[in-house]
C-alpha cells in the first residue's frame, strides 16, 4: 500500500514539473515576444519608446489582418496563398475608384465617396475569396492549387488595371467630395493609429467568433475531422466558403490600410505577404493540419515577426540578415509545434 502512495506522489511531482515545461511551450510566442523586446531595448535606446511601439504596431497591422484570415483558413485545414495578391488588387481597385470611374455610355465620371470605396473594395475581396471557397469546396480543387491560381490571376488583374504603374494620388479632392482616404493610414484616436485599432477590432471579432459562436465550433470541428463534423450536422461546405470569403475581406481591408499608409496603390504591393501571414499563424501555435490554433496565438505571432524585423532595421542589420532571422524563427516555431502536438497524437 505504502508502495503505491509513493509512486503516486512521485508522479504528481512529475506532473507539476511537466506543467511548467508545458506552460513555456504553450506560451512560446508570448515569451519570444518578450525576449525580442528585451533584446532590442538593450541594443537600441530608440526601441523601447511609446512612439516606436505605435509605429511598429501600425506595420504589424497589415500582417496581422492577413494572418487573421489565414488562421481561419488554416483552422479549416486549408491554406490561402492569394492574400497578398488580393491585398494588391484591393489597393489598386481603391486607387482606381479614387481617380474616378468613367462610365463611357453616359459620358460621366463618378467619384464615389471614400466610404463607398471602402465598401466596394471589401466586396471585391469577398468575391475573390468566395471564388477560392467555391473552387475548393464544390469543385474539390486542393486549396494549395486553387489559391495559387487565384494568386496569379488577382496579381495579373492588378497589373493589367494599372499597366504596371502605381496610383500616387489617393487623397481625393474636396470639390468632388471624396477626400479622407488617408484617414485609415494616418489618423489616430487617443494617440493610437487607426490601423492598429482596425486590427484590434478585427482580432476581437474573430476571437469571439472562434470561441463563442457556433460557427467557430463548426470551423474547429470541420478542420479537425471533416467527415465526423459533417455527420454531426455541420454544414462543412458553407463553413469552407465562408472562411475563404472572410480571408478575402480581411485581405482587402489590409490592402486599404496599406495603400492609405503609403498614400499610393501599386499592383506589386504585398508580394510574398501570404508567406508572412502563414508564418505568423504557425508561430502562434496553430497546426497546419487544421483544427488547432487561436487568435491570441496568431496575433502574438504577427507581433513577433513585425517587432523582430523592425527591430533589426532599427539596430541597422541588413535586410538580408532580417530574412535569415525570420526564417530561423519560423523553423523554430514549427519545431515546437511538433513537440506540442506530436506527443498527443500517438496512435492509441
Amino acid at each position: 500500500m505504502s508502495d503505491t502512495t509513493i509512486t503516486r506522489a512521485a508522479s504528481d511531482k512529475q506532473a507539476k514539473k511537466f506543467n511548467i515545461g508545458r506552460l513555456l511551450l504553450e506560451g512560446r510566442a508570448f515569451f519570444a515576444l518578450i525576449l525580442i523586446i528585451a533584446v532590442f531595448s538593450v541594443m537600441s535606446p530608440n526601441y523601447f519608446t511609446v512612439g516606436n511601439f505605435l509605429i511598429m504596431s501600425s506595420h504589424v497591422a497589415i500582417y496581422g489582418l492577413l494572418s487573421i484570415g489565414m488562421l481561419l483558413v488554416i483552422l479549416n485545414g486549408g491554406i490561402d496563398l492569394s492574400v497578398g495578391s488580393i491585398l494588391a488588387l484591393a489597393g489598386v481597385s481603391a486607387g482606381a475608384m479614387m481617380q474616378g470611374i468613367e462610365l463611357q455610355a453616359l459620358g460621366v465620371i463618378l467619384y464615389p465617396p471614400v466610404w463607398a470605396v471602402v465598401v466596394l473594395t471589401c466586396v471585391l475581396g469577398a468575391l475573390v475569396g468566395a471564388v477560392n471557397g467555391v473552387l475548393i469546396s464544390i469543385f474539390k480543387v486542393p486549396a494549395f492549387v486553387a489559391t495559387l491560381g487565384v494568386m496569379y490571376v488577382a496579381r495579373g488583374i492588378a497589373l493589367l488595371m494599372t499597366n504596371g504603374l502605381t496610383y500616387n494620388n489617393l487623397s481625393g479632392r474636396a470639390e468632388l467630395g471624396n477626400t479622407g482616404f488617408g484617414w485609415l493610414g494616418f489618423n489616430r484616436i487617443a494617440g493610437i493609429p487607426i490601423s492598429v485599432l482596425v486590427l484590434a477590432a478585427m482580432a476581437i471579432i474573430a476571437g469571439l467568433m472562434l470561441s463563442r459562436s457556433s460557427f467557430g465550433r463548426w470551423l474547429y470541428a470541420s478542420g479537425g475531422n471533416e467527415r465526423a463534423a459533417e455527420l454531426s450536422g455541420v454544414p462543412t461546405r458553407r463553413v469552407k466558403i465562408t472562411v475563404y470569403t472572410l480571408s478575402g475581406i480581411l485581405s482587402a481591408i489590409a490592402g486599404l490600410v496599406l495603400s492609405s499608409q503609403l498614400t499610393s496603390a501599386g499592383p506589386t504591393a504585398g508580394t510574398t505577404y501570404e508567406l508572412t501571414a502563414i508564418a505568423a499563424v504557425v508561430i502562434g501555435g496553430a497546426a497546419l493540419t487544421g483544427g488547432r490554433g487561436t487568435i491570441r496565438g496568431t496575433m502574438l505571432g504577427a507581433f513577433v515577426i513585425g517587432f523582430l524585423s523592425d527591430g533589426l532595421v532599427i539596430i541597422g542589420v541588413s535586410s538580408y540578415w532580417q530574412t535569415v532571422f525570420t526564417g530561423a524563427v519560423i523553423v523554430l516555431a514549427v519545431l515546437m509545434n511538433s513537440l506540442q502536438y506530436g506527443r498527443g497524437t500517438r496512435k492509441s
Partner: protein, 514 residues
C-alpha cells in the same frame, strides 16, 4: 493457485510463462491507468483479458508491446527483465500487437499496409510480387475475398480490421497481442479467426486476447485475467470460470441485457423508406430498392453480415450517401433533399459505425465532441451559451457513463469504449425522434451496453423510433421489437422478437456455426 489470491508468483514460472508484467504502473498526469499490475502471458496458450471500459487493458498491452513505457514496474521476457524502447524493439523480440483502433494508412493498398516498414527487398528495390503472393496467402488463411491491391480506404471497417489482423500475423511473432480484434467482424469471421488462433497456439505462439464479447471470448480462453480500475482483481484457468465469474469480477454485479421494452402504445409511422437504392462508386446497388417502416416507440433491429448494405442504408437515410432512387419520409414529410444538419434538426440522427473516421473530432475535447451535434440548441443569437453547454455536457457524461478526467480532457485520452460512448452521447444529446445506430456496441463493456439498451428502451416508451444495426444476433434479441435481416441489399427475412438465433442467422446467408 486459487482465484481468491489474485497475486501471481513474484517470479514467473519459466516453463509456463513467456512474458510477464510485475507491478507495472502507468500514469498520465493525475490519471492512474495502471496501479501496479501483475500479468502473465502463458506460453502457447490464449490468455484473455477482461475489464470494463477504461480498466487499463489497452494501456497494459501497450506497455507489454513497447508502444508506451511504464511509469514503474518490470517486464520479464523468458525469465529475463527487459525494457522496450519502442514498438519496433518489441517486434524484434517477437512481440506484435493488433491495436484496438485501426492503424492503417487509408491511401495505401492492402499489400503495402501489411508490409509497411518491413518491405521485402531485392537488389533492385521492393519485391512487390512476393509481397502480393504472401498477402494473397494471408487472405486465404483468413478466408477473406480481399484483393491485395485495393486501397484500404475502399474497404469496409470489418475488412480493414481483417487487414490489421493479417499484418500482425505476417510478422510471425512468438507473442501476439490482440486488442479487440473482432469488434467489427461478423460471427463467421470470428469463427475463422479462432481457427487461425488455434493453429497458432498449436505452433507454440502465445496469444493475448481482449474482447467485450464475453461469451465469444470464453470459447477461445485458456486463462482469464480481470482488470478493474487499473488493478488486477482476479485470474484463473478456463476450467475454473464461467460467464458469471467474469462479470462478477469485472463490475461486481450481474448484468442482464434484458428484453425489448413492453407495455407502451406504439405511435404512427415515424420513418418510412420507400424503394431506396444506394449505389457504390461503380454503380452497383449496395442497397437495392429497399422499403421499411419504423413506428414511433418501436425498436427495429437490422441484422446482416458485413457487406449486406446496412451501413449504406443508414448513411443514405442520414444524408451522407446519395440515394439514386426512392423516398425517405420522416413524420410524413419527404426529407431526401435536406442536408444532414437539417435532418438532425428535424430529429433524424445517426450514430456512425467507425468512431475514428466518422464519429469523433480528434483535435477537440470530450465536451466539445459531446455537444457538437446539438450546438444549435444552446446558441442564442450570435453566441453559444457556456452554461447551457456545460449542463448538456455534464448530463451526457453521466447519461452514457463516460469515464473521463473531465469535459476538457482531449478525446484521445479516453479508452476506446469510452470514446464510443461519446459518439452515442453526442447523438442522444440532439434529442432525436428517430435514432439510427450502426454497430453502436463496438468496444463498449457489458455495463455500458446495458445502459445504452436501457436508454433506448426508455426513449421508445416516450415515442422514440430506433433503427439498430448489428452483426450480433444476441443484441437483436434483447433490444428489438422487430428484426429485419438484410442480405445483399435486400430484406431477406423479417421476424418478431420471439424468433431464435438460428432462424435469424440462417436467413442472413450465414452458415450456422456450431
Amino acid at each position: 493457485m486459487s482465484p481468491e489470491t489474485p497475486v501471481p508468483d513474484a517470479r514467473p514460472d519459466l516453463q509456463e510463462v513467456v512474458l510477464a508484467a510485475r507491478n507495472v504502473a502507468k500514469s498520465y498526469g493525475n490519471v492512474h491507468a495502471l496501479k501496479g499490475v501483475n500479468f502473465d502471458i502463458h506460453r502457447g496458450q490464449v490468455t484473455t483479458l477482461f475489464g470494463e471500459n477504461g480498466a487499463g487493458k489497452s494501456t497494459l498491452m501497450k506497455v507489454l508491446s513497447g508502444v508506451i513505457q511504464p511509469t514503474s514496474g518490470e517486464i520479464i521476457l523468458d525469465g529475463q527483465p527487459v525494457s522496450f524502447g519502442n514498438a519496433a524493439d518489441a517486434r524484434d523480440r517477437g512481440i506484435s500487437i493488433i491495436h484496438q483502433e485501426l492503424s492503417l494508412a487509408p491511401n495505401m493498398t492492402v499489400r503495402d499496409n501489411i508490409f509497411m516498414g518491413r518491405e521485402i527487398r531485392t537488389a533492385t528495390g521492393v519485391d512487390f510480387a512476393e509481397e502480393e503472393r504472401q498477402t494473397r496467402k494471408l487472405m486465404e488463411d483468413l478466408e477473406e475475398d480481399i484483393d491485395p491491391l485495393t486501397p484500404v480506404e475502399e474497404l469496409r471497417l470489418g475488412q480493414q480490421q481483417i487487414v490489421e489482423i493479417a499484418r500482425a500475423l505476417s510478422v510471425n511473432s512468438r507473442i501476439l497481442i490482440m486488442d479487440e480484434p473482432t469488434s467489427a467482424l461478423s460471427a463467421s469471421e470470428v469463427e475463422v479467426l479462432f481457427k487461425v488462433i488455434r493453429d497458432l497456439t498449436a505452433r507454440g505462439v502465445s496469444i493475448v486476447y481482449i474482447s467485450h464479447h464475453l461469451e465469444e471470448a470464453l470459447t477461445i480462453t485458456d486463462h482469464a485475467v480481470v482488470l478493474r480500475d487499473g488493478n488486477m482483481t482476479a485470474y484463473a484457468p478456463r476450467a475454473e470460470i464461467d460467464l458469471e465469474w467474469i462479470v462478477r469480477n469485472m463490475v461486481g454485479e450481474n448484468y442482464d441485457l434484458g428484453s425489448p421494452p413492453e407495455g407502451h402504445e406504439m405511435g404512427g409511422v415515424a420513418l418510412s423508406i420507400r424503394n431506396l437504392s444506394v449505389p457504390d462508386a461503380s454503380g452497383v446497388d449496395l442497397v437495392d430498392g429497399m422499403s421499411l417502416d419504423v413506428r414511433a416507440g418501436e425498436i427495429v433491429c437490422i441484422y446482416g453480415l458485413m457487406g449486406a448494405g446496412r451501413t449504406e442504408l443508414l448513411e443514405a437515410i442520414a444524408g451522407r450517401l446519395h440515394a439514386t432512387g426512392g423516398e425517405i419520409v420522416l413524420d410524413g414529410r419527404e426529407v431526401s433533399h435536406l442536408s444532414i444538419g437539417e435532418r438532425i434538426a428535424r430529429g433524424l440522427a445517426l450514430v456512425p459505425e467507425d468512431r475514428q473516421r466518422d464519429g469523433l473530432v480528434q483535435t477537440m475535447s470530450v465536451g466539445q465532441n459531446l455537444s457538437l451535434a446539438s450546438i444549435r440548441n444552446f446558441t442564442r443569437g450570435l453566441f453559444t451559451q457556456t452554461q447551457a453547454e456545460r449542463a448538456l455536457i455534464d448530463s451526457s457524461i453521466r447519461e452514457v457513463t463516460v469515464k473521463t478526467d473531465g469535459p476538457d480532457a482531449p478525446i484521445g485520452s479516453l479508452s476506446g469504449g469510452n470514446q464510443q460512448k461519446v459518439v452515442i452521447g453526442k447523438i442522444l444529446a440532439t434529442k432525436p425522434r428517430v435514432i439510427m445506430l450502426d454497430e453502436p456496441s463496438r468496444g463498449i463493456d457489458i455495463g455500458a451496453k446495458a445502459e445504452v439498451f436501457r436508454l433506448l428502451a426508455e426513449g421508445a416508451k416516450q415515442g422514440l423510433a430506433v433503427l439498430y444495426s448489428t452483426s450480433e444476433v444476441g443484441e437483436c434479441l434483447s433490444v428489438a421489437h422487430r428484426i429485419i435481416v438484410m442480405h445483399k441489399g435486400h430484406i431477406s427475412a423479417e421476424f418478431d422478437s420471439t424468433v431464435t438465433k438460428e432462424e435469424i442467422m440462417a436467413a442472413s446467408g450465414e452458415s450456422v456455426a456450431a
